[in-house]
């Protein structure tokens, strides 16, 4: 097995150009696209989901050949002060993509979440975001607050976009968890087409979040199920497909092969859509209707 990285200079230059920043060529790094991945109020579910990637690239291909994943708390070899050094070196070098998983608790002066001793999530994300134009919120918590911001929002959790304010455009890869293809596909699109994918009004790439689940659901128009476990459209059971944008009905989940959509998905297993890619996912409204 070859463990050397492909030359990623060209692709890195493309993504830099895609963001249209000055000195874009600086992103062209020998080691691949530099990524700093912070977990704030995260459950790690989006990282675990990313590990399931295979449609565009497998995770080992990404780590060995594409990304320079400097800082990722679940995967990195370094701990403690050595891990902090990694983050600080990435910060000093700049030209990284900041990925945030999890909502950001702003209550108690940010002290509900520390990334390392003395460094709150609030402080870390603000500090690192100021150093890069590329900020990706991975998952519905980082995109919209998610379950952490559910009423009564005990930690005053906010999305990355809310934390950083409107001057910084955050790419929201929503989903609880997010789909690995939505993360990898967004990065792949930027590398291939040298452009940021079109984002909808909620900051999500329209290439994945263009149509409602109900719109493209194979069960649309079928006789509604009256109880869980019965066949048919699940709308009378609380399915949020009509109000939820995501390509789950076609892409599906947990595929086993490259360039091949999966077979399984929530509604395919008669589980009503919970609207996990939407800001309203965690509002005080029951998932079950019947």
């Amino acid at each position: 097995m070859s463990l050397t990285r492909r030359d990623f200079l060209k692709a890195s230059a493309s993504i830099a150009a895609a963001f249209g920043i000055q000195g874009a060529e600086a992103l062209a790094r020998e080691g691949g696209l530099s990524v700093v991945w912070f977990q704030a109020q995260a459950c790690t579910g989006c990282s675990v989901s990313l590990l399931n990637s295979i449609y565009y690239n497998t995770i080992d291909d990404l780590l060995l050949n594409t990304l320079d994943l400097n800082y990722h708390p679940n995967l990195m070899a370094a701990s403690g002060s050595l891990a902090q050094t990694v983050a600080q070196n990435a910060y000093s070098q700049g030209n990284f993509v900041l990925v945030v998983e999890g909502a950001v608790p702003t209550g108690a002066s940010g002290k509900y979440c520390y990334l390392w001793p003395g460094m709150t999530a609030v402080n870390a994300i603000k500090t690192f975001a100021a150093k890069t134009p590329y900020v990706m919120a991975v998952g519905t918590c980082a995109s919209f607050g998610g379950v952490n911001a559910a009423p009564p929002n005990p930690t005053q959790a906010v999305s990355v976009q809310t934390l950083l304010g409107t001057s910084k455009k955050v790419i929201n890869i929503a989903g609880c968890p997010t789909h690995p293809d939505w993360i990898v596909g967004t990065v792949a699109h930027m590398l291939k087409y040298a452009s940021v994918p079109t984002l909808d009004s909620k900051g999500r790439p329209t290439m994945f979040f263009n149509r409602s689940v109900h719109d493209i659901c194979p069960l649309k128009g079928t006789e509604p199920a009256k109880a869980l476990g019965q066949p048919g459209c699940l709308k009378e059971l609380g399915c949020r497909g009509p109000e939820t944008r995501a390509d789950c009905p076609t892409r599906r989940w947990n595929t086993g092969a490259a360039n091949t959509y999966g077979k399984d998905w929530c509604i395919g297993s008669r589980g009503p859509c919970h609207g996990c890619t939407e800001p309203k996912f965690s509002e005080l409204r029951p998932f079950n209707k019947a």
Binding site: L3, T44, M76, P105, Y114, P272
Partner: protein
């Protein structure tokens, strides 16, 4: 004077963990004389669940942890079934076991290869890139052909844990979390295609477990025999048991029980208390059974150093996890140590995978998967199961059909808890105390002990740190 080192972030765990150790030279060797374990993130799930439809808990609690959402979904489904006096259909029970089993396989494979193994191999010349560099290096780490083979298996294991999730998704719809678990079973249907697809994936996984994972763990154990003598901890074990083999749950693949003061004993969950002497909660939040638990923070409480409560059984510290389960079940009784945890976890992986093959035979194609029932409005429920990393309990009360109290006691609360009201250190703290740390700049021995427990800090829902701790000596934080 001991040197106190704050190891934060302690990476390759799930969630935010900080370990503080005080090291002093004793009998000619630098040893850990005191250890404190703390989480650094709080979310407040138990507060968020109040006032909701109880059925939402099955889906909300899965979001506590992205590595073991299925265990929370299982615990919550069982809690509601206990409250509503419903038993799952046989199909539904078996499907839930298969989904949970698939997640055990992915979690245990992930733990060994991707979270724990980097503590034992020097990957210089093999993985000279992020996120594997910079790395901690100690002279005892494996190099050369041994390291090279394990790195190859590290990569292979990434594909294997993905396939385990692919297997789980057959009846979960998707992984890591599922929308199919419900009161009375599982919403999905049983088809020949799903059963055959599951069996093919399981065959690949069993092949990997038998021919790669278990041999690798045996190799590691033979090369690091000293770790059979390190990291014992309290020596008491607790397991709620998991994988119900009948509708009442009276028979399980891994049984309920405990091992306290060298004796096998039964479990009565009403004997569990959560203590808060060293936790930032008001005294009124302490010494309570989970079913009457409250969580009132007191950030300025004197003497507290953690926001994890300290669950104890009859006042005693217990370890939970694969070793505890295999010990209680009588499958593994070699000893209690860092290496015993890794070995028992691998053996349990095989046990679960082999059992899953039999469960696929029990599914009735086209048979009922959900049992409907009434939902009484003022009820109490308990769900006791096991996450991959140990005993997991959910306790719920409802009032007028809404959740009025929901308390969760997670595996990592047992293992990573602070001192309790009696001054007893938590399991990880005890396991760390006394270990030799050759080079405090490369605290790999500490990481090996902590990683053997497979901590999951996101699960420790009580964990919070709104106040700065008193400044302690911190090694090596760059300017």
């Amino acid at each position: 004077m001991p040197t106190t080192v704050k190891l934060g972030p302690l990476t390759r765990v799930e969630g935010h963990l900080e370990i503080e150790v005080s090291v002093d030279t004793s009998a000619g060797a630098p040893q850990v004389v005191d250890a404190r374990s703390a989480g650094t993130m709080f979310r407040g799930f138990e507060t968020i669940l109040k006032g909701r439809d109880p059925r939402d808990a099955i889906h909300y609690t899965q979001r506590i942890c992205g590595v073991c959402p299925i265990s929370h979904g299982m615990a919550s489904s069982m809690t509601l079934e206990s409250a509503f006096r419903v038993q799952p259909t046989d199909n539904g029970r078996v499907m839930r076991n298969l989904v949970l089993g698939a997640n055990y396989l992915q979690s245990h494979i992930l733990h060994f290869y991707h979270l724990a193994l980097p503590d034992y191999i020097n990957t210089a010349g093999l993985l000279d890139m992020s996120p594997w560099t910079p790395r901690h290096v100690t002279p005892d780490m494996l190099t050369g052909a041994q390291a090279s083979q394990l790195v190859n298996h590290y990569v292979q294991a990434l594909a294997m844990r993905r396939k385990a999730h692919q297997l789980g998704a057959k009846f979960a719809g998707r992984m890591p979390s599922t929308a199919t678990f419900t009161v009375g079973g599982c919403t999905d249907t049983v088809s020949r295609e799903k059963v055959d697809g599951s069996r093919a994936l399981l065959a690949e996984l069993r092949q990997f477990i038998d021919s790669v994972y278990i041999p690798d763990v045996e190799t590691l154990a033979s090369l690091f025999p000293g770790y059979y003598r390190i990291g014992k901890g309290p020596g008491n074990m607790l397991a709620f048991g998991v994988f119900d083999l009948n509708a009442t749950g009276s028979s399980k693949l891994l049984r309920r029980g405990r091992y306290t003061d060298n004796l096998d004993k039964p479990v009565d969950h009403s004997q569990i208390r959560e203590y808060v002497a060293s936790s930032w909660y008001t005294p009124a939040s302490g010494n309570l059974a989970p079913l009457s638990g409250t969580t009132t923070p007191d950030a300025s409480k004197a003497g507290a150093y953690s926001w994890i409560k300290a669950p104890r059984y009859e006042g005693k510290v217990h370890e939970v996890g694969p070793l505890a389960r295999m010990w209680i079940n009588g499958d593994y009784r070699r000893g209690v140590s860092v290496m015993d945890r890794l070995v028992a976890r691998a053996m349990e992986t095989k046990k679960v995978a082999d059992a899953m093959n039999g469960w696929l035979n029990q599914l009735v194609i086209g048979g009922a998967t959900v049992k409907a029932g009434s939902r009484p409005e003022n009820v109490t429920g308990v769900g006791l199961t096991e996450a991959p990393r140990g005993a997991l309990g959910h306790w719920m009360q409802t009032s007028s059909g809404k959740v009025s109290r929901y308390q969760i006691v997670t595996p990592t609360a047992w293992n990573a808890s602070p001192r309790d009201d009696f001054g007893q250190a938590g399991a990880i703290e005890q396991a760390l105390t006394g270990i030799v740390v050759e080079d405090i700049g490369q605290p790999i021995e500490v990481m090996r002990v902590v990683h053997s427990f497979d901590p999951c800090l996101s699960c420790a829902v009580h964990v919070v740190r709104p106040g700065e701790r008193a400044a302690r000596y911190v090694v090596g934080i760059p300017a």
